[in-house]
């Protein structure tokens, strides 16, 4: 009987103990603190870990401050790659990103612009009706690079140019607020009200 009781107790103790070890905090349920004993607070470790900032559910889409750049450094520069072929443009963007990483050029952002769809119609030879030729999708990827040094920028441009694939249009320009705004959804009601106000 005694043995059975002891076994039962030990079995009951171990899962509880594992729960307690997993909790890690000081005040664990159903265990009181022996504050007068020297072993008070034994097993506490959470106060030694760095403080975790509680993660917000939705990160508000805010514009990052545009870096103007000093005399010897360029601020935020956008490398925009446009093409009809999505795979090609994706692979080229990945290549440019890896290249910047290898050359220790800081890549602040790497995103895709929304896809544009165009319907191409052409006039038939005999007849006045417009016939649908194709539906073309234009894809654009942007890599934002910051703190590019003035001596290294032309070299980087040269490398990117030499590796440019067919049909991919390259555009390198400085980042502006308008570029950021073009990524956001249009708000016609707000604009209407603002126009009415002023």
């Amino acid at each position: 009987m005694l043995l059975k009781q002891v076994f039962a107790l030990s079995r009951a103790a171990t899962p509880q103990e594992s729960h307690l070890c997993a909790a890690g905090g000081a005040l664990v349920s159903c265990h009181r603190q022996y504050r007068s004993r020297p072993t008070h607070g034994i097993g506490k470790y959470k106060h030694l870990l760095p403080k975790e900032v509680p993660k917000r559910k939705k990160d508000k889409v805010q514009m990052k401050e545009i870096n103007a750049g000093t005399e010897h450094e360029y601020g935020d520069v956008n490398i925009q790659m446009t093409s009809y072929d999505m795979c090609l443009v994706e692979h080229f963007a990945q290549y440019v990103h890896k290249l910047c990483n290898q050359l220790s050029v800081r890549v602040s952002e790497s995103y895709a612009m929304p896809t544009k769809t165009n319907e191409v119609l052409f006039l038939e030879e005999r007849g006045s009706k417009m016939q649908l030729d194709a539906v073309l999708t234009t894809h654009q990827r942007v890599i934002q690079v910051s703190r590019l040094s003035s001596t290294f920028a032309p070299i980087l441009l040269e490398i990117i140019q030499s590796n440019q694939p067919e049909g991919v249009h390259l555009l390198v320009k400085e980042h502006t607020e308008a570029d950021f705004k073009s990524r956001l959804k249009a708000r016609p009601e707000l604009e209407e009200l603002l126009a009415q106000m002023s």
Partner: protein, 157 residues
């Protein structure tokens, strides 16, 4: 009696205008509270017709020689690409070194020119370049008349 009426009209109008303005301001505040959203990118959404799992491709098993050939080919290709990448990195390094040496010599020549060379080039950006083409455009080609319509979906918040 005649004097009282125009005064009432003015007050009522002012009050009405004020009320209207306040309502508009409230509406604007409410709309501005909602954070602006990014346009969803169609590239990253797989179309529904590809989510059907019933179509499965069954390939025949490859012979031993075939697999060997493929593996050896991959090894050769990766070695070739690696040498290409190494050559490219060497080219970059030599470019940078040559540039640094030139700047050093320029500094020895004249400090003013060196400072002007170090400064950033305003005419560099914006820089545009079209990719190379498989075939150049045909000379004297007369394209049929037509037009392009933009049918991109407009997202509103």
């Amino acid at each position: 009696m005649v004097k009282a009426q125009p005064k009432k009209k003015k007050k009522v109008d002012v009050r009405r205008e004020q009320a209207q303005k306040d309502r508009m301001k409230k509406k604007i505040k409410k709309l501005e509270k909602a954070a602006p959203e990014l346009i969803p990118i169609e590239d990253f959404e797989t179309p529904l017709k590809f989510s059907d799992n019933s179509r499965v491709r069954s390939l025949p098993p490859l012979s031993f020689e075939e697999t060997e050939r493929r593996v050896l080919l991959m090894k050769k290709w990766s070695a070739y690409k690696q040498s290409q990448d190494r050559a490219e990195k060497q080219a970059i390094r030599s470019l940078v070194e040559a540039q640094q040496e030139a700047l050093k010599e320029l500094r020895l020549e004249s400090e003013e020119l060196y400072q002007a060379a170090i400064r950033r080039d305003e005419g560099l950006f914006p820089f545009e370049r079209d990719g190379p083409n498989y075939t150049p455009p045909l000379p004297g080609y007369d394209p049929p008349e037509g037009k392009c319509i933009d049918i991109t979906k407009v997202y509103t918040q």
